[in-house]
C-alpha cells in the first residue's frame, strides 16, 4: 500500500478554523488546494506539512497515523517525507545554490558524506535546469531561478509529498508557467505527489484535481476518484 491518505477532523475550542475536514490525496496526484484568505487553507497546509498537529482527528501520511507525533518526530517526518516550496523562496542568503540545496541533508537521520551531499545536490540542480548556476548566491539569481533552487532543495530527500505554498505568488506569469510546468513534469515522470496551495484559479487549473476550502470546510473535491477512505 503505497498510498498517501489523509483524514481530518479538526475542532478548535475558541476559533474553529477547520471544522472537520476530511479529504484524501492518493500517491502520485497533483492536487490544488484553493480557498480565499481566512478559509483555513494555511492551517490545513501546516497540518499537511507536519508543521502543526490537529487538535482532534487523524492524519495518515505514508501509511502512518501521525496526528499524535511529538515536535521532534514531526521534524524527522518533515525531513524524510515532505518537501516545501514557499512563496518567498526562503533561501539562505549569501549561500551558494549548491549549499542551499544540500542543507536538508544535514538534518537527515543517517550521516551523508560531504562528497555524497554535493553529488546529490548537483544532480537535483541539474534536474531543475540550473547546472550552470551551482555556485551562485540567491541574490545573483532571478526569481524563477531562486524558486527552482527551492524546488531542488525540497526534492533532495526524495519526499513522498511536495507542498507548494503559493509557489508562483512572487513570479511573473511567464516564469510561473515554467515553474508550474516543472511541477507537472515531476508529477508525471516521477510520480511525485504534489499539493499546490493557491488562491489563483489560473494556477489551480494546472492541477488534475482542485480542492476548494471555505470557512474550514471542504466545499468540493474531497475525494479522489480512485481512492477509498480508511477508517
Amino acid at each position: 500500500m503505497r498510498e498517501v491518505c489523509k483524514t481530518y477532523h479538526l475542532g478548535e475550542m475558541d476559533l474553529q478554523v477547520l471544522k472537520g475536514v476530511t479529504l484524501s490525496v492518493a500517491k502520485g496526484e497533483l492536487v490544488a488546494l484553493m480557498g480565499a484568505s481566512g478559509s483555513g487553507k494555511s492551517t490545513l497546509m501546516n497540518i499537511l506539512g507536519c508543521l502543526d498537529r490537529p487538535s482532534s482527528g487523524e492524519y495518515w501520511l505514508d501509511g502512518r497515523e501521525i496526528s499524535g507525533a511529538s515536535a521532534n518526530e514531526r521534524a524527522r517526518l518533515r525531513n524524510r517525507l515532505v518537501g516545501f516550496v514557499f512563496q518567498s523562496f526562503n533561501l539562505l542568503a549569501r549561500t551558494s545554490a549548491l549549499d542551499n540545496v544540500s542543507m536538508p541533508l544535514t538534518y537527515g537521520e543517517e550521516y551523508v558524506h560531504e562528497a555524497d551531499m554535493k553529488a546529490r545536490a548537483t544532480e537535483m540542480l541539474r534536474k531543475v535546469g540550473l547546472a550552470d548556476r551551482m555556485d551562485h548566491q540567491p541574490s545573483q539569481l532571478s526569481g524563477g531561478q531562486q524558486q527552482r533552487v527551492a524546488i531542488a532543495r525540497s526534492l533532495i530527500n526524495r519526499p513522498r509529498l511536495l507542498l507548494a505554498d503559493e509557489p508562483t505568488g512572487n513570479l511573473d506569469s511567464h516564469t510561473s508557467e515554467e515553474i508550474l510546468e516543472m511541477f507537472r513534469t515531476l508529477n508525471q515522470s516521477e510520480g511525485l505527489t504534489i499539493i499546490l496551495v493557491t488562491h489563483d484559479p489560473q494556477v489551480a487549473h494546472h492541477a488534475k484535481r482542485i480542492i476548494h476550502i471555505r470557512d474550514g470546510l471542504i466545499e468540493r473535491g474531497a475525494e479522489s476518484k480512485k481512492e477509498e477512505k480508511p477508517e
Partner: protein, 454 residues
C-alpha cells in the same frame, strides 16, 4: 557525527555573515584583551609600588641593644654594648626569613674636603650588606666598598648626594679623599638620591664606611678604653691595636695597678645597631621571631629574663604596603570582572539580534527537518566558536597592549599566565552562558510563526 555536522553548519552560518560574526567577536576580544592588559599592567604597577615601599624600608627591622643600668641610672635605648657584628652574621645565616643583615656603628665627625667642610647627618660604619638592606645597591657613580675593605679597615667611603653637593660642588667625587677626624677616606662610590624619609630627615646626607674603619680609626673611644684591658687579658689581636687611635684620650690611661684593682670585663667589638631586611612583607613577623630566639640564645638569656635588645619594625609602612597591595588586587579583580561582563553582554546582544534577524532561516531549517536540539546546538556552537576565536585574538591584543605600554611608557608589566587562563576559561564560559539564552530562544520558535516572520 551529528555534532560534527552541527559544527559545520555553525561554521558555514558564521562564514555567511562575517561582519556580524566579527562584531560579536569584538565584544569578547575587547573583554579578554582588557582583562589581560589590565592584569599585566596592574600586576606590574602593583609590584612597582611594593618595590617602592620596600625601598622606603618597609621590610626593614632594626635591632638595638637594650638599656643598661649604671648606678641606678638607665641609659635608655641602646645603652648596653651587647650587640656584636657576629650577631649580624648569625642573623643572616640562621634566620630563613632574613634576606640581609648589616651591623651599624654610629659616629659623628666633621667631613673636610679642601676648603669645604660639612657635618654629615649620618655617618655609619657598616658592611656592604647595608646597601642591600636599604635597597640602595645601585650606585649613581663608582662602586660600594667590599667585605674585604671591612676586614682590612680600608679607608674608603661611599657618600650620598647631599655630601657631594656640599663638599665637591661641581667636582667629580670618585677617587677624591675626604677627611673625617683627620683620617682620610677615599670616595669610591656615590649613592643614588633617596630624598627625605618619612620623618623629613635627608637620607642623602650620609657617609658610609666599613664599620671597622669607623670604629677603630674614627671614633675609637670605646676601643681606646678597652684596649689595655683587652690587651692584658686576651691574646687575640684586635684591629684597634694594630691601628692606634688618632684621637687623644679623654681620660688618663689607667696604670697597671689601677687596672688590676678595677678589673674591667673584656669587651668585644659592639655595634650600635643591626639593620635587617626580611625577605618579604609577609615574613617580617617571622623574621622578628627568629631573630628574637637567635639573639636570646647567643646572649645566653634565661627564658624568664627580659631581652637585652629591642627589635623595631616599620609597622606603619608594612600596613601601608599590605593595604596598597590589597587595594590593587581588588581593583584589578573588579576591572577584570567588568570587562568580561561587558564582553559577555555584547555577545548576548548580538546573538539575540542575530536570532531575531534569522527567524526565517530558523523556520526554514525547522521546516526541512531540523529538530529544536539541532537549532540549539547550532547557535550554541556559533557562540562558543566566536568566544574562543575572540579569546585567542583577545589574548594576543592584550599581550600586545601591555608590551606597547611597557615599550612606550616604560611601565613595568608582569606576564600573568593566571590571567590568560582565567580570561580564556571565562570567555568560553561566557560564550556558553550568554550564547545559551539566544540559542534556547531560537530553538523554541514555532516553525510556522518563524516562516511567516517578516
Amino acid at each position: 557525527m551529528r555534532a560534527y555536522r552541527t559544527f559545520k553548519t555553525a561554521m558555514r552560518a558564521l562564514r555567511r555573515n562575517v561582519m556580524r560574526a566579527g562584531l560579536t567577536t569584538l565584544g569578547i576580544v575587547i573583554g579578554v584583551a582588557a582583562v589581560i592588559a589590565m592584569m599585566e599592567i596592574g600586576n606590574g604597577s602593583s609590584l612597582a609600588i611594593q618595590h617602592t615601599i620596600a625601598t622606603m624600608g618597609a621590610y626593614n627591622l632594626m635591632v638595638f641593644p637594650g638599656n643598661s643600668l649604671l648606678a641606678g641610672i638607665s641609659t635608655g635605648m641602646g645603652g648596653s654594648m651587647k650587640l656584636s657584628p657576629e650577631d649580624a652574621d648569625a642573623i643572616l645565616t640562621d634566620c630563613p626569613a632574613v634576606a640581609a643583615a648589616a651591623p651599624v656603628v654610629w659616629a659623628r665627625a666633621q667631613a673636610v674636603y679642601n676648603n669645604l667642610n660639612w657635618q654629615p647627618g649620618t655617618l655609619y660604619g657598616t658592611t656592604p650588606a647595608f646597601l642591600e638592606v636599604r635597597d640602595w645597591s645601585e650606585m649613581a657613580q663608582g662602586n660600594g666598598f667590599t667585605d674585604r675593605d671591612v676586614r682590612n679597615c680600608s679607608k674608603v667611603c661611599v657618600i650620598g648626594q647631599t655630601i657631594v653637593k656640599m663638599l665637591f660642588q661641581d667636582e667629580p667625587p670618585i677617587g677624591k679623599e675626604i677627611r673625617l677626624m683627620n683620617v682620610t677616606f677615599k670616595v669610591v662610590g656615590v649613592l643614588r638620591a633617596k630624598g627625605a624619609n618619612m620623618m623629613g630627615s635627608d637620607q642623602d646626607d650620609i657617609i658610609l664606611a666599613p664599620w671597622t674603619t669607623i670604629k677603630y680609626r674614627v671614633t675609637a673611644v670605646s676601643a681606646n678604653a678597652t684596649t689595655s684591658a683587652a690587651a692584658a687579658s686576651t691574646a687575640s689581636v684586635l684591629p684597634s691595636q694594630v691601628y692606634p687611635a688618632t684621637q687623644t684620650s679623654l681620660y688618663p690611661v689607667p696604670s697597671a695597678s689601677q687596672q688590676a684593682d678595677t678589673p674591667q670585663p673584656v669587651r668585644f667589638a659592639n655595634v650600635n645597631q643591626i639593620v635587617v631586611a626580611a625577605r618579604s612583607g609577609g615574613e617580617v613577623k617571622d623574621a622578628i621571631e627568629e631573630i628574637t630566639a637567635l639573639l636570646r640564645e647567643r646572649h645566653h638569656i634565661r627564658p624568664d629574663m627580659p631581652e637585652d635588645f629591642t627589635i623595631r619594625d616599620m609597622t606603619e609602612m608594612v600596613r601601608t604596603m599590605s593595604s596598597t597591595t590589597e587595594l590593587m588586587t581588588t581593583l584589578l579583580l573588579i576591572v577584570a570582572a567588568i570587562s568580561l561582563v561587558v564582553g559577555g553582554v555584547g555577545i548576548m546582544n548580538i546573538m539575540l539580534v542575530s536570532v531575531t534577524e534569522r527567524t526565517r532561516e530558523i523556520g526554514l531549517r525547522m521546516a526541512v527537518g531540523a529538530q529544536s536540539g539541532d537549532i540549539l546546538h547550532q547557535f550554541l556552537m556559533e557562540a562558543i566558536v566566536l568566544c574562543l576565536i575572540g579569546g585567542a585574538i583577545g589574548i594576543a591584543l592584550g599581550r600586545a597592549t601591555s608590551v606597547l605600554v611597557r615599550l612606550i611608557k616604560h611601565w613595568p608589566t608582569v606576564v600573568s599566565p593566571g590571567a590568560i587562563i582565567v580570561a580564556v576559561a571565562v570567555s568560553a564560559l561566557v560564550g556558553v552562558l550568554f550564547g545559551f539564552y539566544p540559542a534556547w530562544k531560537a530553538s523554541r520558535l514555532d516553525p510556522i510563526d518563524a516562516l511567516r516572520y517578516e
